[in-house]
Every structure is written in structure tokens, then in C-alpha cells.
């Protein structure tokens, strides 16, 4: 991979998207098969109950520690959540690589524009969930 060649950078963008999507899909397929094996014939209603008065709203853990312990135990919900996280990471990585793509083209203006977009994106994705005003 040559960081100074726009052609090879575009190929990198393509591979990241392809593998990101593939890895995410494989993890979600495993989680779903796991779920069907464990409770495929159970009623769906209990799993889609929405509780407006508390956070999290659903009957599933969204904490990082819960995710990690669930993954170690190969819990179906944790696997699916991991797959979703990989999927969410694909557009983020695409923006990150685009910073290098524009750098390779010698396009300083768009290198800066893309870097600003990346900062706003990471702030919104990772920081705003912890700001109370955003928890509407």
C-alpha cells in the first residue's frame, strides 16, 4: 500500500468497506443463529417491550462491561451488538481513510475539510451520549 498514490488509497477505501460489511454480517449471522437456537419459538413480544421511563429503554444491557461479559459467554444479543458496532465503524473508517486519500492527492483544503468532519463525527458518536442534555 502506497500512502502517496490516490489509486491505491481508493482501493483501500473499497477493501475497508467490503471487509467491514462482511465481518459485521458474519458476526450478526452467528448471533442470530444463536438466538434462534436458544429461543426461536419463544414469543417476540417480551423482547420488544419498550420502557419509556428508564434508560436503557429495552430489556437488554447496553453497558460496555455487559457487552464484554456477554461476548465471553457468546450471548446472542451481545454478538449482534458487536456486529452493529462494526457496521457503525465502517463509515467512520471511510472518513478517516479519506483524510489520507486527499493528502495523497495533495489536496490540502479537502484534507482539512475531511479532518473537521471526522472530529465532528467522533465527537457526536462518542462524546454526546455522555452529555445529559442529549439524552432526551
Amino acid at each position: 500500500m502506497n500512502l502517496k498514490d490516490p489509486g491505491s488509497m481508493t482501493a483501500v477505501v473499497g477493501s475497508v468497506l467490503r471487509y467491514g460489511v462482511l465481518i459485521s454480517a458474519v458476526i450478526i449471522v452467528f448471533g442470530t443463529l444463536d438466538l434462534i437456537a436458544a429461543s426461536g419459538s419463544a414469543d417476540a413480544l417480551g423482547s420488544i417491550a419498550y420502557n419509556p421511563d428508564r434508560i436503557p429503554h429495552g430489556n437488554f444491557d447496553v453497558s460496555l462491561s455487559g457487552l464484554v461479559s456477554g461476548l465471553i459467554a457468546l450471548q446472542p444479543y451481545s454478538l449482534i451488538e458487536l456486529g452493529a458496532i462494526v457496521l457503525i465503524a465502517t463509515p467512520v473508517s471511510r472518513v478517516l481513510i479519506s483524510v489520507f486519500l486527499f493528502a495523497a492527492e495533495g489536496d490540502k483544503l479537502y484534507m482539512v475539510v475531511t479532518a473537521v468532519v471526522l472530529c465532528l463525527l467522533l465527537f457526536s458518536l462518542l462524546v454526546t451520549p455522555f452529555i445529559p442534555g442529549f439524552q432526551a
Binding site: 468497506l17 419459538s41 423482547s47 444479543y77 457496521l87 465502517t90 473537521v116 465532528l120
Partner: protein, 280 residues
């Protein structure tokens, strides 16, 4: 309804949503949300959480093809994404203090009105490209792609400032309501910036993924991203988006615009009905 039925219905619905969404540059929420809320009895908040995952899936699933065929205009997308992401953060920040009923009515009506210029342009194949001048020239908002008949189509964008304002609106809207951003993005590039329809929808396809990823953290933390719902949605939408992307490559601009006009009309009606208390 047992879980396996629930998964199957959502999986099949999502394939269709992915095909449609990837062609017209929207996230597929327009198809998935009504099926979830009306047919499967899922709460609207879970439906919007699923829609966020669907948007990212549509974007990344189709992008593999669009990147290879160089349809997406990355400069136009990144420049406009400045306004969209900033708008989405502002929208999320004020969501708790805003009356979403009035908003949905206003935005739904705007989309409905925008159906007129969209339908008037319905037969347009390749737009007459304006000269590259002013801000568009300084920002390098130009590009080219290969049409189905092998012709190389060169195009320039016009009125980038107007496009930017539209995008800020699209961003605030996605931040506030979690839906409807894609239609505004396509309209902005099609009507304001006069890009070829394919370039507008594929560039919107790139942008909606970034905007949805920006708000994904909040929906995750709230517990609105329900694994039972998003698993079949993500898988179906990825398959659909890969099919849709291949269809778009082989379609001409008038066909894509017709599909977009249909999605635009349905989205507008959904928003207006939703403001009247009918959550579709």
C-alpha cells in the same frame, strides 16, 4: 408472534428497503418503520433505532460498488457533510425542547412541495452542466462518471452555499427526528446544485451513512438499538443494498428520478400523518 417469524418478516422487508434505499439515496426507514410500528407492533423509538442501523447498512453495503464505479462525488459529499454533521449535533442538542409535531408538519409539507420541481424534471437524463465558477470552482466541486452506454459525463456543481444551507436543515432534521435526512440531501444536490441524478443519490448514499453514524452513539446509549430488531434489518438491508447498487449502475437517470419521486411522496405523507398522531 414467535421470534423466528418476526426475524423472517423483518429480513425480507429489509431486503426490499435496501434495494430501494440504495438506488434513491435514502436509508430505507420509509419502508422499515411502518412495517415495524403498524404490522409488528414495535414502539416508534425502537423503529427509529433500527432505522439508524438500516441507514448505515444501506450506505456501506452499496458503497463498495459506488466507490469502484466512481459515482459518488467525495468532494461534494465531504463539503456538504460539514453542515450535515454540525446540524445533526445541534438537532440532537435541542430535541428535548422542540415540538416535533410542528416540525414534522413543516418538513413534511416542504417535501410535498418539492415533489413539484422533481416531477417537472422527471424526463431529464443528463443535466446541462453549468460553467465551473465562483465558490464551486474554488472548492473543486466537479466530476465525471461513465454512463450505461459508455459515454463519459462531465458535470459541475452550482450554488454550493444554497446546498450547504439545505444540508444543515437535513442534518438538524436527522438529529431531531432520526429520519428523513436522505430525501433532503438528494433534493439539495439535484435541485440546488444541479448534479446528475445518479451522482446526487449515490453521494447522498455516502453522506447518510456518516450522518447516521454520528447519531448512533446516542441511540445506543438510550437502549433504542434493539438486537432482536436490528439483526434481521442489518442482514436484509446489506443484501438489498448490494442488489440495488448493481441495479443503479445499469439504470438511466430518468428511472432513478421516478423511483425517487415515489419515495419522496411517501416520505412526505408519512411525516404529515405522523404529525397528526398517525405514526407510520
Amino acid at each position: 408472534m414467535v421470534i423466528i417469524e418476526f426475524l423472517l418478516i423483518l429480513f425480507i422487508t429489509s431486503i426490499f428497503a435496501g434495494i430501494f434505499g440504495s438506488i434513491v439515496g435514502v436509508g430505507g426507514g420509509v419502508v422499515i418503520i411502518p412495517v415495524l410500528t403498524l404490522f409488528l407492533g414495535v414502539d416508534i423509538h425502537f423503529a427509529i433505532g433500527a432505522s439508524i442501523v438500516a441507514i448505515i447498512g444501506t450506505s456501506s453495503g452499496a458503497a463498495t460498488t459506488y466507490v469502484k464505479d466512481k459515482l459518488t462525488n467525495l468532494r461534494v459529499g465531504m463539503f456538504l457533510e460539514l453542515a450535515t454533521v454540525a446540524g445533526a449535533i445541534c438537532g440532537a442538542a435541542i430535541a428535548a425542547y422542540i415540538n416535533s409535531v410542528a416540525l414534522e408538519l413543516i418538513f413534511g409539507s416542504i417535501l410535498l412541495i418539492m415533489l413539484v420541481p422533481t416531477v417537472l424534471k422527471i424526463g431529464e437524463d443528463i443535466p446541462k452542466s453549468p460553467d465551473l465558477k465562483g465558490l464551486s470552482k474554488r472548492l473543486g466541486l466537479t466530476g465525471s462518471y461513465t454512463e450505461t452506454d459508455g459515454a463519459i459525463i462531465n458535470y459541475n456543481a452550482t450554488r454550493p452555499a444554497a446546498g450547504l444551507v439545505w444540508m444543515a436543515v437535513a442534518g438538524i432534521l436527522s438529529g431531531l427526528l432520526g429520519i428523513g435526512g436522505g430525501a433532503f440531501k438528494v433534493l439539495s444536490m439535484d435541485l440546488a446544485m444541479k448534479l446528475p441524478m445518479k451522482v446526487s443519490t449515490t453521494t447522498s448514499n455516502f453522506m447518510i451513512g456518516v450522518t447516521a453514524a454520528a447519531s448512533a452513539g446516542i441511540y445506543f446509549a438510550r437502549g433504542d438499538v434493539n438486537p432482536l430488531i436490528i439483526a434481521p434489518v442489518a442482514l436484509g438491508i446489506l443484501i438489498g443494498a448490494m442488489i440495488g447498487a448493481r441495479l443503479l449502475i445499469r439504470s438511466r437517470n430518468p428511472t432513478i428520478r421516478k423511483a425517487f419521486a415515489l419515495v419522496l411522496a411517501v416520505t412526505a405523507v408519512q411525516m404529515i400523518l405522523s404529525s397528526a398522531g398517525i405514526k407510520l
